[in-house]
Amino acid sequence: MVGAIRPDHELHRRRWSRNLGLGLSLLAFVVLVFGLTIVKVSRQDAHGNPPAATQPAGATP
């Protein structure tokens, strides 16, 4: 019964879809954080502060 030990149960498909989805989500998250870092670092002023546009005068923090 070679077929009996092959992991092709429907349960394995669900597990695979979950692992693949989680892997892709984490990859996308890493890419997004990297991109955000590039944007934030390259747009800061000489003192390392974020640009004024994101914190306008009169903003209520």
């Binding site: 349960l11 498909r13 669900r14 597990r15 879809s17 979950r18 693949l20 989805g21 989680l22 997004l32 991109g35 955000l36 944007v39 934030k40 747009r43 546009a53 994101t54 914190q55 306008p56 009169g58 903003a59 209520t60 923090p61």
Partner: protein
Amino acid sequence: MSDISAYDGTGDAGFGDFVQLLKPRVMSLVVFTAMVGLIVAPVHLHPLVAFASILFIALGGGASGALNMWYDADIDRQMRRTRGRPIPAGRVTGGEALGFGLGLSLVSCLMLGLAANWFAAAFLAFTIFFYAVVYTIWLKRRTPQNIVIGGAAGAFPPMIGWACATGGISVESLLMFALIFMWTPPHFWALALFMKDDYSRAGVPMLTVTHGRAVTRNHILAYTLMLAPFALALGLTSVGGPVYLTVAVLLNLGFIWGGARLVRRSETEAEADRYRAERAFFRYSLAYLFLHFAALLAEAGLHSAGYAAW
């Protein structure tokens, strides 16, 4: 327990089941309204920051959906509409949904703070708390005004989008809130009119169950009348203009007319044509909200092209 259900609930849910926990259809509304709130704001964000902000608002909204499904699994099991959700269907355990919802709440708020600003992040955290705790746990099963209060949670996203860009609150963002807040009750009460046995079986005190269907019809009309001034006032602010006002006038006339039509109908008439007017009113309410926000987007486009009316 059959051996099929013995497999279920053992942590072997597919990826799609976790996506279902986020309530993707509610999320699409959150994404759209948050995006409009962010785009019409007078401060312009870098496109990647804007994208990340909307993504984390959506994930925060999804997290509150997962927490809602965790707490409501018992009543979801009794309603036809919600029986197929991941927890009642046995594909995800309650504990998994709770952990998923809490973890995602934390990540989405922290990331929104880092991407946009901490005011927006705190606002998102408050929204999640409001939907999961104030609405789902405290009020949904206690008062027939549950829909009215729960509507506030759905009305916050455009304000959070606006806060991402400006770091604060303004009359424009408050009116966007009011538009969704006042729109929610007639939208859901119309649904409750033609989904009647569901809510009563689950013991959720919907207005249709506690005060009767005629009262519900009157409430729907009252809300369409109270909603109109807010919808029109938004057109007179800096984000409005003639395009928005034209759309708003037409849509509100239609909504009020639809509400008045529901009031004039008796239950016998409604049952005779299988709630055709109620279903039509429900579909119209979806278009109503979508087109208001689409008109705001159109105005934003006109404004940036130099056609600002006021």
